[in-house]
């Protein structure tokens, strides 16, 4: 009786999750399908989950038009990897310290960290700061520095660190470990789930960012992938909506596979980053404090 009941609830649970997963996955399948559909059918027949006539024209167009995609992938990967690692390090050190009772002014400091969530000076001061004070315009570092620290992430991570038992740190101190060593050797390894969680979101932010590049990057070889793809689409859209400015070419523009290409750029942009999740998956499974506490 109990077994049957258990199975029933288990089945309901899985059925629920399967339906839910479908609701999250199907729209993306739609994107992939559209990107491989012959443009003509999109116009006449509408969108379908399965291409009526298979075509790679959209991808060919994106690859032939977007300049050096490989270089752009290189830039994006560098920015994402370096940016995420630095972000995690800075955030972890800051938020851990904010949880330590030894730090007297931690409430005031937390408020200091929180305030920028609300107030920001807008684009003009940021532009002046990055270009004229820090001189980072047209360098790869500008792409990294803008997301180097996020006050929201500091606060979320601070919360994770609070669950680390004091006794652990206390015993490390007894063993003569300095505070910084304790942090790197004991606290950080225990925080892998937290680091993986925050890291995943930071990675997405770096990976998807194209606005920074379009404001601050001017050399073609420093342009990240998202910028390249976005810009390619913007140019088509822009020419279409300003037919007056480019009258003579209107028919030619009409031939470009715009809808399919739009979806193809999405697929190319999201594809690699989605693969990251399975890699990080194992860290999500581990508890924050298991094991270590018992020892």
């Amino acid at each position: 009786m109990i077994l049957r009941k258990l199975n029933l609830s288990k089945i309901t649970l899985h059925l629920m999750f399967i339906t839910m997963s479908l609701a999250f996955i199907l729209p993306l399948i739609l994107v992939v399908s559209i990107s491989f559909t012959n443009e003509k059918w999109l116009m006449l027949d509408g969108y379908r989950f399965w291409p009526k006539e298979f075509s790679t024209a959209a991808y060919q167009y994106v690859f032939s038009g977007a300049g050096s995609i490989l270089n752009a992938y290189g830039v994006t990967i560098f920015v994402t990897v370096v940016g995420t690692l630095l972000h995690l390090l800075i955030t972890a050190m800051l938020s851990y310290s904010l949880t330590r009772p030894e730090v007297k002014h931690r409430r005031a400091l937390t408020f200091f960290v929180y305030l920028p969530v609300l107030f920001n000076g807008g684009l003009v001061p940021q532009y002046i700061l990055l270009t004229q004070v820090l001189h980072l315009k047209d360098t790869i570092w500008v792409l990294i520095i803008v997301y180097l620290v996020s006050t929201v992430n500091v606060l979320i991570m601070k919360n994770f660190f609070r669950t680390i038992p004091d006794s652990l740190i206390e015993s490390a101190r007894m063993d003569g470990s300095g505070e910084i060593r304790t942090f790197f050797q004991i606290v950080l390894p225990l925080s892998k789930p937290a680091l993986a969680t925050i890291g995943l979101f930071v990675t997405i932010a770096y990976w998807n960012d194209w606005m920074t590049a379009s404001l601050y990057i001017e050399s073609p070889n420093l342009r990240p992938l998202q910028y390249l793809l976005q810009s390619l689409m913007n140019n088509i859209g822009y020419l279409q909506s300003n037919a007056q400015a480019s009258q003579s070419m209107e028919a030619a523009i009409g031939m470009l596979p715009s809808e399919g290409a739009r979806m193809a750029t999405c697929v190319l942009a999201i594809g690699p980053i989605i693969l990251l999740y399975p890699l990080l998956q194992k860290y999500f499974e581990k508890g924050l404090t298991i094991g270590a506490v018992k020892e």
Binding site: L42, G46, P125, K158, N159
Partner: protein, 323 residues
């Protein structure tokens, strides 16, 4: 049932001299230094820009040199004089509150249920798929939404007409968007928050559950008396972040409100929030002063709300107050 073993400030020994306490604090300040420095540089220095809200800004004189507005609050005027100010304020609060409650409840439910899925592969698959939309930008979601809801080419309408129904004009009827927008935000954000809660649950010491099992606690009891109380700090932090942004579109991420309904005038009644109104009104005249005036107004209201909520939390549960 109190299980939280929180970091209780170890009371400083009276014989502790200031110097000793400073020496104890030093390593922490060293670790905080990079973060605090970057926060100062990246966020506090540009904050001088809020002055623009009171200035008749021009590049030649810069932020500090530009003349003050006369009267000082002139840049704020247009928003409060706008005949839709009330509608957009209502929309902003409506969507944000709805969103905050809906996302929190859904994400918590999903996270707790995910914890019950013992098969590692399946649990990873579910998590992965729920998280997928988090990777997408609003523009991509707009494409998706359009391919679903387009009047003549959309999937939904072809399903309806395929079954003999009449095509629905999704993009022309404001009332539909009261539901479409929250669903879209939920769809995009619920994965993010679920994963945060999953990580928080993973951090709970299994000893608690084992002890509870020995006492013969049911699943529901364990959730109520162990999981939820231990998640409280996380829920509070996230809610406080949300409260501060209550006057901006969903968590300060208002782009969806602009992008998803195609910026269609006919839908403004239900889709316009403060930020989209400001963005649209100022696009034409590109006035930094007026833009930052509204930003400042939203920030001040946000600050006010946060301080109140934090005060209440501090009274009831000092350990979990943000500051």
């Amino acid at each position: 049932m109190k299980v939280i073993t929180n970091t209780k400030p170890s009371l400083p020994n009276k014989s502790n001299r200031t110097i000793r306490s400073m020496r104890r604090q030093l390593p922490f300040y060293l670790m905080m230094a990079p973060g605090l420095i970057f926060i100062t540089i990246l966020f506090y220095i540009p904050m001088g820009g809020v002055l623009i809200a009171f200035k008749d800004y021009n590049a030649r004189d810069g932020i500090f040199g530009s003349p003050w507005m006369d009267p000082l609050f002139k840049n704020f005027e247009f928003f409060f004089k706008s005949d839709v100010a009330r509608t957009v304020t209502f929309n902003t609060l409506f969507y944000n509150l709805l969103e905050a409650v809906a996302v929190t409840i859904c994400a918590l439910t999903i996270a707790i249920l995910l914890n019950e899925v013992k098969n590692k592969f399946l649990s990873a698959t579910y998590k992965g798929s729920i998280l997928l939309p988090t990777f997408l930008s609003w523009i991509v979601i707009q494409y998706i939404l359009f391919s679903l809801l387009s009047v003549d080419r959309g999937i939904v309408n072809s399903a309806i007409t395929g079954n003999g129904g009449e095509a629905i004009n999704w993009y022309s009827e404001p009332s539909y968007w009261r539901i479409i927008l929250p669903i879209a935000y939920l769809w995009k954000n619920v994965g993010y928050f679920s994963v945060l809660y999953v990580a928080a649950i993973a951090g709970i010491n299994p000893d608690y559950y084992e002890a509870a099992e020995l006492d013969g606690a049911s699943k529901w009891q364990k959730i109520r008396h162990i999981t939820l109380p231990l998640l409280k700090p996380t829920i509070i932090v996230l809610s406080l972040l949300w409260v501060g942004k209550l006057f901006n579109g969903g968590l300060g991420d208002w782009n969806g409100f602009y992008t998803l309904p195609n910026d269609a005038g006919a839908l403004y009644q239900t889709t316009d929030v403060i930020d989209t109104l400001v963005f649209r009104s100022l696009k034409k005249i590109n006035d930094y002063g007026m833009a930052s005036a509204i930003g400042l107004y939203q920030a001040v209201v946000g600050l006010f709300l946060v301080l109140i909520s934090n005060y209440i939390i501090k009274k009831k549960d000092p350990d979990n107050a943000l500051f």
